[in-house]
């Protein structure tokens, strides 16, 4: 797969690199409560980044702000120097904690995001994605009848079908059994190996250790700590991170 960042730089936004991602002084308030509070963050396009923090710390909100599903109350987000736009968002994909399954078959859920392709190519691509997601047995099954793990694999395959350069995962394994978690982590590694930047929100410290190259730790709507994964788990620099890792931090 062609890495878009290899493409020559031009005035066309769709040809310019997405990274570095820079969020500056982000504030997001809803009904009088400040949920993201002056958050600043810089990420490069390499590796898997785990976003961690307590419930309500603002992790999911941060993902939605970066992806453009929410608009910050103030502050700026720049992808490779460009503000969020439809063109920028078209190069990203997001998978939600509870996968949104269209009321169609598994294959049709994939076909839905591939309708720009000619029919033959689309069918071929659907077959590939179904196989990669290990859903061959369920291609014709209504998506909403799949198991939780199958649904999440389908959601990830669907996100992948859009050929994003960045994949946001919002607690994708939160309510799955260990086998399903394992299967999804396999898929995430494959995606990363294809050169896609993965930003994953997770509560599962084991999962973060297995997957992440670096960690962004959010506390009370701010970035409390950002570090390489190994360093973060061995020597957290803040008391909050220390408490979180030991299961003592409460929001």
């Amino acid at each position: 797969m062609l890495k878009r960042s290899d493409a020559p730089v031009s005035d066309d936004i769709s040809a310019q690199p997405l990274f570095p991602l820079a969020a500056t002084d982000l504030v997001f308030a809803d009904r009088g409560r400040t949920l993201i509070d002056n958050l600043s963050l810089t990420l490069d396009g390499r590796g898997i980044t785990a976003v961690m923090g307590s419930n309500g710390a603002g992790k999911s909100l941060l993902l939605r702000l970066l992806h453009g599903l929410l608009t910050p109350t103030s502050g700026a987000i720049r992808w490779g120097g460009n503000p969020l736009s439809d063109e920028v968002r078209a190069r990203q994909a997001m998978v939600f904690q509870r996968p949104t399954m269209l009321r169609r078959s598994a294959a049709d859920n994939l076909r839905f995001v591939l309708n720009h392709l000619p029919r033959n190519e689309r069918d071929r691509r659907v077959e590939e994605l179904i196989a990669e997601a290990k859903l061959d047995h369920a291609a014709a099954t209504p998506a909403r009848l799949l198991s939780g793990g199958e649904q999440q694999r389908l959601a990830i395959a669907r996100a992948r079908a859009t050929e994003p350069e960045v994949l946001f995962l919002d607690e994708p394994t939160a309510s799955l059994d260990p086998a399903s978690v394992h299967a999804i982590e396999e898929v995430v590694r494959t995606i990363h190996a294809d050169g896609i930047k993965v930003i994953i929100v997770t509560h599962d410290i084991g999962q973060a250790k297995r997957l992440a190259d670096d960690v962004v730790f959010i506390n009370r709507g701010r970035v409390a700590e950002q570090a390489a994964a190994a360093a973060f788990f061995e020597r957290p620099a803040t008391d909050a991170a220390q408490a979180y890792l030991e299961g003592r931090l409460q929001f």
């Binding site: 939605r64 992806h67 599903l69 439809d86 968002r89 078209a90 990203q92 994909a93 997001m94 939600f96 949104t100 269209l102 009321r103 169609r104 078959s105 839905f112 995001v113 209504p142 998506a143 909403r144 009848l145 859009t162």
Partner: protein, 235 residues
Amino acid sequence: MSDSGSIFSLALGLVLSGDAELWSIIALSLRVSLTAVALACLIGLPLGAFLAVVKFPGRDAVVALLNAFMGLPPVVVGLFVYLALSRSGPLGVLGLLYTPTAMIIAQTILVTPLIAALARQSMADLHVEYDELFRSLGLSMSRTIAALIWDGRYSLSTAALAGFGRAIAEVGAVIIVGGNIEHVTRVMTTAIALETSKGDLALAMALGLILITLALFVNSAVLTLNRTARRLAYA
């Protein structure tokens, strides 16, 4: 003179006798109301989905208007269409008055608000579920609406059935714009009105019984199809 037993046997006799006139009236009733419902779906479903998806100033007012129009009296709609289609009206040159087409137009106007309002409600619920995904995919408004209609098709068929129920049962609009002309624009409801005005209450009731059976048949056919399709295909 008209106990329920004799009405029932009269209705049964009418159906079993294969009375050609009765069947042509039934066929016209179905043709007019099903066509009207189909047209109302073509307008009402996208309109309902649009109102569920797109926020614009005055949307609440439009929705309130739509809900109010759900209860539009058929006679008022009939009168409105009569004035439009009359030779002296703006569309008089088309010569549509006293034709099945005029009846279809009237019933379409009658049931479109009902179908749009019911569609908006179920589309709004579905949209809450799909909204983030669709925005993440950068889906256009037209594709969003099409996807909501397709994925909500089972609940929308309930809206279509409600529209059909209103159309097949109404007499006020079709009698004005159709004229209840024998062999041309006479449908079940106007035939019932005619028999009532002739004082033949037993025959009127028998026709009413057939009308109810007809509506029951269409409803259960759609619901059965629905359930089967849903079980076979998509949850």
